[in-house]
Structure formats: structure tokens, C-alpha cells
């Protein structure tokens, strides 16, 4: 069982897990060039996430410790999410009753837990949770959990 941790704030790490520290990295933003779909399929023109792609796909379990910014994810986290489109093909299927990109890979992490830290105004937290669930579902993750950092600590105790 391989675990991969992505973190934007100081959070407990598990023994043996690989850690990607987003708090120490300012990611390059997606250029919208579509090179990852039609020039170098599966590869982004930027190279700063290549190791992240390898570790994410190799993992069975992923923990994402993310900060809340204006009731949503940070721009740095959004840069990471945008650039996860390398994980899917440009082709569309309608098997789920809506347009969905087809998977590029046979294996994705089976479980992703998002543990967020930050403040919301009413209505934002539900939208934040719904956003993550929708996004991870589109990335073929089967078990998705999105919880507040405090609530998560209670679960672990």
C-alpha cells in the first residue's frame, strides 16, 4: 500500500509516505496549450510536476492537506488541479449520462482524502466540498473523503 501526501500546511505525515510540499513550491500555471493532449500526449510542457504525476499515479492512497483561500482552493492548488488533465484523454464518453473525459491510465489512486484548513462564510464550505468530490470523481477516484482538519484529527484519535 503506497501513500502519497500533498500538503499546503503543516500536517501529520505517515511513515513511509512520499510527501509533496506545496507550501514550498510555486507551481507553474497551465498554459491552455493542449500539448498534453495533442503534441506530447500525457506530458505537460512544464516539467515541475513530473515527479508529482509519478507519485500520485503510483499511490493507492492520497492525502491532500489543503488551505482554504477566499472560500475555495488556493491558486497554487488550483494550478496543480488544472494540470492534472494530463491524467485523462481528450476523448469524451457519455457512459455516465454526461460528457466525461476518458481515462488515460488503467490505475489511479483508489482513495483520496482531502483535509482542509481555513475559514468560510456561509455557503462556501458546501461548495468547497462539492467541488473536490466532483473533481476527484472525474479523476476516477473511487473513495473520496473531504473533511475539515479538526474533524479529521478527531477521527484519527
Amino acid at each position: 500500500m503506497k501513500t502519497f501526501i500533498i500538503k499546503e500546511y503543516n500536517a501529520p505525515t505517515l511513515e513511509g509516505a512520499t510527501v509533496f510540499d506545496l507550501s514550498q513550491t510555486e507551481l507553474k500555471h497551465c498554459l491552455g496549450c493542449w500539448s498534453c493532449w495533442w503534441t506530447t500526449p500525457g506530458k505537460c510542457v512544464h516539467k515541475d510536476l513530473d515527479e508529482f504525476y509519478r507519485e500520485y499515479l503510483a499511490a493507492d492512497k492520497v492525502y491532500i492537506y489543503c488551505n482554504v483561500s477566499q472560500g475555495f482552493v488556493t491558486s497554487n492548488m488550483k494550478a496543480m488541479i488544472d494540470r492534472m488533465i494530463v491524467f485523462v484523454l481528450p476523448y469524451i464518453s457519455w457512459d455516465k449520462g454526461e460528457s466525461c473525459h476518458e481515462p488515460r491510465y488503467d490505475k489511479y489512486p483508489s482513495s483520496v482524502k482531502v483535509i482542509y484548513n481555513g475559514e468560510f462564510i456561509p455557503g462556501e464550505e458546501e461548495a468547497f466540498i462539492a467541488y473536490w468530490k466532483r473533481t476527484l470523481d472525474m479523476m476516477f477516484v473511487k473513495e473520496i473523503s473531504v473533511k475539515r482538519y479538526e474533524a479529521m484529527k478527531e477521527v484519527q484519535q
Binding site: 499515479l57 488556493t74 476523448y91 488503467d106
Partner: protein, 212 residues
């Protein structure tokens, strides 16, 4: 009223958002300035925006939300009760509901910042517009010009225009069957395949460079 248009696409002047901005402005008497998140420092752009009271953001749907580069600009904006903000989203997916998560995020953002909501236009099925002949986009462009003209008259996005753009909210069962049938025939991938072939990448289209 002083309107500023923000092109929030990472693709800047080369993307579909630019086409959207230009067609929208075509419908207006006044010619608002366009600024680009892909080209400008976010802090400097945010400071510049402060001189305008109407902000119109044009951008593509990126993984269920705004592109990260536009979110970076948002992080430099200040709360204000004097700003009026509208959003024009275009997505590759045909169905307007695919932008629902983003619409909720934007409405929450307006509320948090105290901005007055001018409306959100969602235009689906727009992935290839910059590669299509003008004639094929005629209806979309006419709608955009109308949207610009009505915005200038009413200082808010027209409800009918919003509805026209979002007409295909979800596919019906019949449309889904139709799409699945054409997918089996390989006819729904023609645009992507032609671009892959053009870039000599067709044989590599299923590559898995980082996993299995």
C-alpha cells in the same frame, strides 16, 4: 459606468476567450479595454482594476472552476460594495450544468467580496471555436454581439441571452444514445484526432508516461 474586460484565459490573446471578448465588444458602442491575466502581474492588474466599477471576466472552465491563473488575480482583489461583476464562461463540454460548481463558487465569491452580481453567462461546446470557420460560429458570435449590446444598454447581462447560451443544460436520453452511437463509429473524436495527426502524435495518443 466604467467597464473593464478581463481575459482570464491562460491562453491570453490566442484563446477562445479572446474571441468571446472581441465579439462581445463588437456589439457595443463604447470599446472597453481588455486586460490579460496571462500577461500581467496580478497585483498591478488588481490595482489598475480599482479605477473601474464594472468588471467583466471572460474565461474557460478549467477542471470545474476558474483557471488557477485567474484565481491568483482574485487573491489580489479587495472587498468593495462599489464593484459590479459579470462572468462569461466557455467550456469544451456541451452541457451547461458542467459549470454549476463554478457558478456557485463565483456567486459565493461575489458575496464574500461585496460585489454586485451582473450575471453569469455559460456557453458550452466551445472547445474548437478558434479552429472552426467563421460561418460555423455565426450563431454564437451573433449571440455574443447581442449580449454586448444589451449589456451596454442595461448595465447587466440580459437574462434571455444567459438562457440562450445555457440552453443545453443536460443531454436528454435520446441525445446520449445518439452521442454513444457516434462515439462507437469514432466520429466524436475527429477534431482531436485531426490535431494529433497534424502534430505527428496520433500513434502516441494513448501514451502513459507516468504510470500504468
Amino acid at each position: 459606468m466604467k467597464t473593464l474586460i478581463i481575459n482570464g484565459s491562460p491562453n491570453g490573446r490566442k484563446g477562445n476567450s479572446e474571441i468571446f471578448c472581441r465579439k462581445f465588444i463588437n456589439g457595443m458602442q463604447s470599446q472597453p479595454e481588455i486586460h490579460y491575466v496571462a500577461e500581467e502581474d496580478p497585483a498591478a492588474l488588481a490595482a489598475y482594476m480599482d479605477d473601474f466599477d464594472h468588471w467583466l471576466f471572460f474565461f474557460p472552465l478549467y477542471v470545474n472552476a476558474m483557471p488557477g491563473i485567474l484565481k491568483r488575480l482574485f487573491e489580489h482583489l479587495n472587498p468593495s460594495e462599489e464593484k459590479k461583476v459579470g462572468y462569461v464562461i466557455q467550456s469544451g463540454f456541451e452541457e451547461a450544468f458542467q459549470s454549476d460548481w463554478l457558478c456557485t463558487i463565483l456567486k459565493n465569491f461575489n458575496r464574500r467580496m461585496g460585489y454586485l452580481d451582473l450575471g453569469i453567462v455559460v456557453a458550452g461546446g466551445m472547445a474548437g471555436i478558434r479552429y472552426m470557420p467563421e460561418q460555423m460560429n455565426k450563431k454564437t458570435f451573433a449571440r455574443l454581439e447581442k449580449a454586448g449590446s444589451l449589456y451596454e444598454q442595461n448595465r447587466v447581462f440580459d437574462e434571455e441571452v444567459i438562457q440562450q447560451f445555457g440552453q443545453l443544460y443536460r443531454y436528454s436520453e435520446k441525445q446520449l444514445k445518439h452521442n454513444r452511437f457516434f462515439r462507437k463509429l469514432g466520429l466524436t473524436n475527429t477534431f482531436w484526432n485531426s490535431m494529433l495527426k497534424k502534430n505527428n502524435a496520433y500513434q502516441k495518443r494513448y501514451n502513459k508516461p507516468f504510470g500504468t
